[in-house]
């Protein structure tokens, strides 16, 4: 369990920063740090097992038949990456606390950061490649939020969009590649896949899978030619650059290559694709980095270059090279994160990152300079820092590798290494060495320890890792570092201007305009298509959709051969024929009469109510009851709504267009009617599953009404969802009516609504008296329908509707204010109770060790009644009842509240005249 918990902790913790920010910035950062620290401690408790050579696994099965399970694994590689993510994460949180300005919303930042952290941990701990893919996409999304954190900066938004487009696109390729890989092996479990090297490499699908997976890895790890998004992502706040774009996210691609290295590597295809891409990336990016003026741009391209180097090492396919790659991942994470943080400090202090405006900071910012010196020298590969060790080993591996010619690889790798020393020295020389200037945009000075503590710790690690094999060389550090720096810097300064002119004169493609051009083209094309299909006219969109569906259905129909159905048909009954004739007449009259909306409503009511006897005739008494009661409520709702809408629909289209619409509607009607006919004249293709429900209705669920037992028992979970949807719909209506009531335009228009009453009686006394008399009787009927529901037609849905109608009668008779004033409980509360009671009925099963919503029943005898049955399903049905009642009343009451603003005086008495005569 603990492995899954490590990945889950940041997601759970992501809720906290938003809350803790109210207690101050320190509390917010401390809470974020505590979550990370907790995950790190959990990781540490599992470390001994892994270090001893074992793996720790957690597996939660979900749909094992489909290969879907939440399966986590911690091995050496996972431990290294999880340690990096959490360890550097802690330092970043500390740094970000002091980096972010007062005006920046810190709670948001740490929430995004924790989401990202959780997604990253998910990638490195997943033991199921489908799960890994989900986390992979989550890192793309959360990094989008982080890069675009400063929403007011256009570069931030554009950079975030570019990063999402490139890494998200790569993620799509990766999904395809992983699915192919899983298909080859027949399992999505990483542990199983890793054991099937021969099967994978012998498959015809190896190359497509490899290319697709590598596309995912290369886009994520910014390999040439997808490297261009990373420098643009540097518009993010520096802690994000340090965390995502040097230490963790861009390493996800490397992690994936390392993870699948045992099964994918070792073939010529792997070597040529991976090693070449890595090599080209390393050299190209290092060259660009040498000529950048922005501190963060230098670091961004150097990151790309180092990622290329690691990719290349993985591409060699030898164990020694892969070991070096892993070693360099650690080293690069330490010195590059430290360098990003120093760049952030410099920007903070001097208000610029431009190397041409900096220089001489060594004397002004000695602490920052020391950190930058150590980290940059490690990046340059100066002994005895850790960068030297891995770079040395890399060159050794490259020299042994044959690529085109025996020496080409060695020469190019050495070129890359020299270039990397070059940009490291330029970073140092341009930023820190040289004379102190007097034209900094802001007077630079060392920041407080809050900002430099994190990079200092990393710089300490740089030294420690470098020294570990040769502690005796410690005394060399100061002397060698300063001596070499001085010499190299002088050499570079003399070289720089001429090289610079050459570089500036060389034509080269810029990635951003190309990217923008491609995106712009795609956007224009999609916009053109969309605007033709969907020009803002709803009727046009509906017509096109109907025609498209009809076309597809017609094409499918005409493509096959058909015979007439053979099912025996029922004989026509005269009563049914009469009902059919009336419904048809009412429905067909509607297109001609619909412009008078009241008439349209009456015709709709006729059709809706007459559907109930159709249900009743064809053995569905439950449906008949529901249809009648829902229809009543619907017509009341529409009548109420018509108060606020125009009473007629103007004639807006010419006869030709109406004919066209009738044609479209006719095609759809013919299609659906034909389909219904085809279905009704044939027996089902498969045996319906209802046999089970009918057989188990009594013994399994304890009720004889199979429809009700399906609703409250067999498919209770569906019903549970449905009453929640109904409740949400009612709350949406309430919320919308609240918003409308707050809008000045709406209240002004409501107040100027012309009075619509033509007769004098608002609340006729006969109606009031009848409604009062009916109330208790209707309620009794409702209770009866509810109670019999389990065994006879009825149940919670119908009972709720009957109750609702009884209450609505009171509203109709005596008006909203009078009726509502006499109501003791809120409609919202009814909905809440309904959902609560229904879920309690479900949760209750847990007490007996049974799954959610398992129902039980037994027989009881209470004197003087006969023996009767009590089922837990009826508690669930009570929840349904309450929710339906609350939702219907809330929906109609919300509409009625709008009427209070129409300028008519609200009634405070139950009826218009006072029968006691005191008024007169």
């Amino acid at each position: 369990m603990s492995i899954a918990l490590i990945a889950a902790l940041p997601f759970l913790g992501a809720l906290l920063p938003g809350l803790m920010i109210r207690a101050g910035r320190d509390a917010c950062a401390a809470m974020t740090g505590a979550v990370t620290l907790l995950a790190l401690i959990l990781l540490a408790t599992n470390a001994p097992t892994v270090l001893a050579g074992g793996t720790v696994e957690t597996r939660i099965d979900w749909l094992p038949a489909l290969g879907l399970n939440a399966s986590f694994m911690l091995d050496g590689l996972g431990l290294l990456f999880a340690g990096l993510i959490l360890g550097i994460g802690l330092l970043i949180i500390l740094y970000a606390r002091y980096y972010l300005a007062e005006a920046d919303p810190m709670g948001q930042f740490f929430t995004y950061l924790l989401l990202f952290q959780g997604a990253m941990l998910g990638i490195v701990l997943s033991n199921n490649i489908l799960l890994l893919l989900i986390f992979w996409e989550l890192t793309s999304l959360s990094s989008f939020l982080l890069i675009g954190y400063w929403k007011h900066l256009p570069e931030g938004r554009q950079g975030a969009r570019m990063a999402l487009a490139v890494t998200g696109g790569g993620g799509l390729c990766l999904i395809a590649g992983m699915l192919i890989l899983g298909g080859i092996v027949g399992s999505y479990d990483l542990t199983v896949i890793l054991q099937n090297k021969d099967q994978i490499q012998a498959s015809d699908w190896y190359l497509p899978a490899l290319i697709l997976i590598l596309l995912g890895a290369f886009t994520k790890s910014a390999q040439f030619p997808f490297h261009f998004w990373l420098p643009h992502a540097m518009a993010a706040p520096t802690p994000v650059s340090a965390y995502l774009h040097s230490a963790t996210m861009v390493k996800a691609g490397l992690f994936l290559m390392a993870r699948l290295w045992p099964v994918l590597a070792g073939t010529p295809e792997w070597f040529w694709i991976v090693a070449t891409t890595g090599l080209v990336t390393m050299v190209v990016a290092a060259t660009i980095a040498l000529f950048k003026d922005d501190l963060k741009a230098v670091l961004a391209f150097s990151t790309v270059s180092h990622l290329g180097m690691i990719t290349m090492l993985l591409g060699f396919g030898t164990k020694a090279a892969a070991t070096v790659a892993v070693f360099h991942i650690i080293n690069h994470a330490t010195f590059k994160a430290a360098l990003f943080m120093t760049a952030g400090i410099v920007e903070h202090a001097a208000h610029t990152r431009n190397l041409r405006r900096l220089g001489g900071l060594r004397a002004l910012m000695p602490i920052t300079f020391t950190i930058a010196l150590l980290a940059a020298l490690a990046m340059a590969g100066i002994p005895p820092l850790n960068g030297f060790l891995s770079k040395e080993l890399m060159l050794q591996e490259a020299a042994l590798t044959v690529w085109l010619t025996p020496w080409a690889m060695g020469v190019l790798a050495t070129t890359g290494a020299i270039l990397s020393a070059g940009y490291s020295f330029r970073f140092l020389a341009g930023g820190f060495l040289g004379p102190v200037r007097d034209d900094y945009p802001h007077a630079p000075h060392d920041p407080g320890p809050g900002l430099w503590a994190a990079p200092a710790l990393l710089a300490g690690l740089v030294v420690l890792i470098g020294l570990f094999p040769m502690v005796a060389a410690a005394w060399l550090v100061d002397v060698a570092a300063s001596a070499v720096t001085g010499e190299a810097v002088r050499a570079k300064i003399t070289l720089c201007p001429r090289l610079r002119r050459l570089w500036d004169a060389t034509p080269r493609p810029e990635a951003k305009p190309i990217f923008d051009w491609v995106i712009e083209g795609l956007a224009t094309a999609t916009r053109a298509v969309t605007e033709r299909l969907h020009d803002g006219s709803l009727s046009r969109a509906i017509a096109l959709a109907v025609l498209a569906i009809a076309g597809a259905a017609g094409w499918a129909f005409l493509g096959g051969s058909h015979t007439a159905g053979t099912r025996a048909l029922l004989a026509v009954e005269p009563a049914a024929l009469a009902v059919w004739a009336v419904v048809m007449l009412a429905a067909l009259a509607l297109p001609f009469l619909h412009r008078n909306r009241l008439v349209a409503l009456v015709l709709t009511g006729v059709v809706g109510l007459l559907i109930a006897p159709i249900f009743a005739l064809f053995s569905a008494p439950d449906l008949a009851l529901t249809q009648i009661s829902v229809e009543v409520v619907t017509i009341l709702l529409m009548l109420l709504a018509l108060n606020f809408l125009p009473k007629s629909t103007p004639l807006e289209s010419r006869p030709l267009r109406r004919l066209r619409d009738a044609g479209i509607a006719g095609i759809a009607g013919l299609g659906i009617g034909g389909l219904a006919w085809a279905m009704l004249t044939r027996a089902p293709a498969f045996e319906p599953i209802s046999g089970f429900h009918l057989a188990q209705s009594k013994p399994g669920a304890g009720g004889t009404n199979a429809v009700n037992t399906i609703i409250v028992d067999f498919r209770g979970y569906d019903t549970f969802g449905e009453i929640i949807v109904l409740g949400i719909a009612a709350l949406v209506i309430f919320a919308l009516s609240e918003t409308l009531l707050r809008s000045p335009v709406v209240t002004r228009r409501l107040a100027s609504t012309p009075p619509q009453r033509e007769d004098g009686d608002r609340h006729p006394i006969m109606l009031v008296v009848a409604a009062r008399l009916l109330l208790p009787m209707a309620m009794m009927v409702g209770v009866y329908i509810y109670l019999r529901g389990h065994n006879m037609p009825g149940g919670g849905f119908v009972a709720g509707l009957v109750f609702a109608i009884a209450y609505l009668m009171q509203y109709l008779a005596s008006g909203y204010v009078w009726s509502h004033g006499r109501q003791r409980y809120d409609h919202h509360v009814l909905i809440g109770w309904g959902v609560l009671v229904a879920s309690l009925a479900g949760v209750g099963a847990w007490a007996f060790g049974l799954p959610f919503l398992t129902s039980g029943y037994d027989y009881f005898t209470i004197w003087p009644l006969d023996e009767f049955e009590l089922a837990t399903a009826s508690i669930f049905d009570l929840g349904v009842f309450l929710c339906v009642l609350g939702a219907v009343l809330l929906a109609l009451a919300s509409l009625a509240r709008l009427g209070l603003r129409t300028g008519e005086a609200a009634n405070t008495r139950p009826f218009d005249i006072d029968p006691t005569g005191k008024d007169r």
Binding site: L538, S539, A620, I733, L892
Partner: protein, 124 residues
């Protein structure tokens, strides 16, 4: 009998879609209501038609298919919720915009220019 039900489903669908193709919100909602009638009947019919066979155990020799009935029962209630949400949206649109047209802009050229109810609101 089957022919009656199938033709009814077809006509309800056609009327529903014709109303949905109007350019005002109220006919659209009526059209959707008709379409829900048709869909509910269709779903119900997928259990095939039977008479005198209500699925109440112990009342008949064979029973109608209860599963489509249970599905349609909840669908009827949910379609009420949907209609109600659409209604408040239509009212809101009408009160906010001063008209209940569904078209965003460029009124169709073949539309006669008689829309008297639109200007009514803005008179003092």
């Amino acid at each position: 009998m089957e022919a009656l039900v199938a033709s009814l489903i077809g006509v309800l669908t056609a009327v529903g879609i014709y109303l949905m193709l109007r350019r005002r919100s109220f006919p659209l909602i009526l059209g959707l209501t008709f379409l829900s009638y048709a869909v509910n009947l269709f779903l119900f019919a997928s259990g095939r038609l039977t008479v005198n066979a209500a699925p109440i155990i112990g009342t008949a020799d064979s029973y109608a298919d209860p599963l489509p009935q249970a599905l349609v029962l909840t669908a009827i209630v949910i379609s009420f919720g949907m209609t109600a949400v659409l209604m408040i949206m239509a009212i809101g649109g009408h009160l906010e915009a001063g008209h209940d047209r569904l078209t965003l802009d460029h009124p169709d050229e073949d539309a006669p220019q008689d829309q008297p109810d639109d200007q009514k609101w803005d008179q003092p």
